[in-house]
């Protein structure tokens, strides 16, 4: 299973990942439109919030609009999604995001674009079954 892995201790809170992600998917540089979020507080316990591909969103979805792709990544079928936002409320990582007023939520699909821009290697694409970084 492909996931975006993280090493919190390496993160320097530069937010490059947020910019890359929001640019890629929303054509806009805005942390609110990024599927990875960086807590900018210096003393934050958890700095990086991103999907762990745990599958809770798949379980809670009332219409089977969230399914794993062949890499094991949970993806939202926007055509099927009824916009109930249950997945947003039930995500244990708080990593299912939603823009106020939008119909569907969005999440990290482990594309790796942010990892490529991370200056410290704090985020990286990993394969859980294969036991490490790709």
């Amino acid at each position: 299973m492909r996931i975006l892995g993280k090493k919190e201790s390496l993160c320097i809170q530069c937010q490059a990942c947020e910019r890359v992600c929001s640019n890629l998917y929303f054509k806009d540089e805005s942390p609110e439109k990024s599927a990875i979020r960086i807590n900018r507080e210096k003393t934050a316990e958890r700095v990086i919030t991103v999907c762990s591909q745990c599958g809770q969103c798949e379980t809670i979805c009332p219409i089977n609009a969230i399914v794993q792709d062949r890499n094991g990544v949970y993806r939202i079928d926007k055509k099927l999604c009824v916009g109930c936002l249950a997945c947003v409320g039930f995500c244990p990582e708080a990593a299912m995001f939603h823009l106020p007023g939008a119909n569907e939520p969005f999440k990290c699909v482990a594309c790796g674009a942010c990892a490529k821009q991370c200056p410290t290697g704090a985020i990286f694409i990993a394969d859980i079954e294969k036991g490490g970084e790709l």
């Binding site: 979805c61 089977n64 916009g83 109930c84 007023g101």
Partner: protein
Amino acid sequence: MNITPIKAAHVLLAELLYKPVKLDKGYTGKILYVNLSQNHIVEKPADPVLKEKFIGGRGYGLKLLWDAVKDTSKWNDPENEIIIAPGPIAGITQYPGAGKSYLVTLSPLTECAYDSNVGGYFGPFLKFSGFDALEIQGKAETDVVIVIDGRLGRVTIEAAPLEAINTHVLVEQLTQLYADNEADRVNISVVSAGQAAEHSHIGGLNVSFYDVRRKIDRIKQAGRGGIGTVFRDKKIKAIVIKSPPVKGDLNNPADKALIDKAGIKLHKEIATLDDKQNAMRKTGTTYLDSIMNDYDLLPVNNFKFGADPEAYRIAKEEFAKYFNVSGHDGCWYGCTLACAKVVNSFELKTGPYKGEKVPIDGPEYETVGGVGSCCGIFDPEYILECNFYCDTYGIDTISFGNIVGFIMECYENGILDKEKTGGLELRFGNADAALELLHQMARGEGFGKIAGLGVRRLKKYFIEHFGADERFVNDIGMEAKGLEYSMYMSKESLAQQGGYGLTNKGPQHDEAWLIFMDMVNNQIPTFEDKAEALHYFPMFRTWLSLVGLCKLPWNDIVPANNRLTDEPAKIPEHVQNYIDLYNGVTGQQIDKQEMLRQSEAVYQFQRVFNLRMGFGTREHDRVPYRSVGPVTEEEYLSRQNRYDGQLKEKLGVDPAAFTVTEKMQILRDFREKQYQKLCDAVYKRRGWDENGIPKVETLKAFGMDFPDVIAVVEKALAGSLK
């Protein structure tokens, strides 16, 4: 299943082609009117007064029914209607419990306007198909289905001779018949009754939705008030709706972000707190079984007792063994409270479907109390079987259980015997006899058909035919206004006696549930306090029925800090959520006061509707003594300490100086007077006169001073002065 012959046998009787109107801020502004006597279908504009003063849901149903019937109309007259209206908030997907429809009709039980709410997908689909309400009048000559295709813009009445009558078969047939393919099943919803609805007054309706995870049709029930009986009397087999695919913004809300925010907040609350609070997601409302038993509030043996040592056998843990729990068990999208529990595959032991493995919706607490403890039956397998058959036969589990409990007590008191019941030994605890009675009701045969009359008519029947003692059966028959009580013991809570007796539609707990506030926590000690609670809660809860919301996410989950708020019983944060939802959908700017004003206007109107139909005064607010105090020595002795203590403390009577019979009479005089004093206080708070009639100035204050409404009140006031 081969549905080809079923489809081929359909005959088109009437057709309407229309252009589905898109919703604008929660409303379409259109009503779908269907007349089955004339085979006439019309899309009519909603009178602006509906939206302005009746809001939606129950309000629409009451006003449309008011305009349709005469003062003399009976439930089985062709002019009686069934109205299904969801309300402006219904159909949003972001907030739990937002898929409710409200069904209104003249009830065969109460002979007044009755409103019953139901989940399932029909209500939202009706809106997405272009209508704020469906209004059905007239009677068909042969069995028909009404089909609403909200994608094509086509409504038809079709003769439907070959479909099954019973819901679990019928829903599967019709879903298959009208869905384009497997993926489209989720866009179909069916309203249906069943065989027993034809032969009893306690018919309920089922509303379906397709469960994509289990790949089965599921149902929820508008069980109460006999709406299913009216449905079958009109020879409707089913109403089928085919909706456009659901999206999160089909209501075209004014401010969707406001709705999203409230929805996500409640989803998070449920995700983090439900396990610690009521675990609704795991066991639904069966969590109440043990709590009610522990507090002596679970009706046992026709409400004689409030607890039983055997009650552990019907506790939530027992039903949890049967429930198949998925992440999503809501009866509308986004309901993460997910109380709609399902037993995936249950092998039936009796009846026409014996040996078949079927899915069962529920049971819910009310069903467990009704068909179970109220009849002295503490057997989960019986409760499941009875639950299934009540649903598929189209009858209400609450009324059925209450009726059987009443019959069993009559049997044990010698009013009935095997000869009179056609061989059924209907003693408390006899599950086999109760099931056979149910099957007889479905077949319209034997004592089962008599039982289907409902408790009010059964009392009369037993007095007239079997020489039953009038006072005794009137004391123990747990009905008021003609409706059987739902499953809470009100004996030791004066406020709840009013919560049941001072309702508009009869003793259903959806107006006010005050037992803990009153009896357990002593938060409303004076008559004025109780009257205030019997004003606020019925008005607040009525509002939910105007806008299309379910009551459960209001107080079956509460915010972590709720107990620190000024009024924890009101769940202030959730009330604010509702205001946000309403403002978010409609674009209006209401507050808490306006919310209650909207609601009270409709509530006052409904009271006048009762008056118009010949009820709605103090004499019709009376309750059976079983709901107020101990009818029998056995009951008195079961709570002797409590009752003796009350005689001593409240009346200064020395219990040792009197016999049990004498003490019972003293207690009865006291408690019955207390109830009348409560009526006085509540009437005053609600702006009614001493006979329970809304005053003209009250109606004016709420904008309900329509000439025909005032005329009813003036006529009643003149009558009460005679």
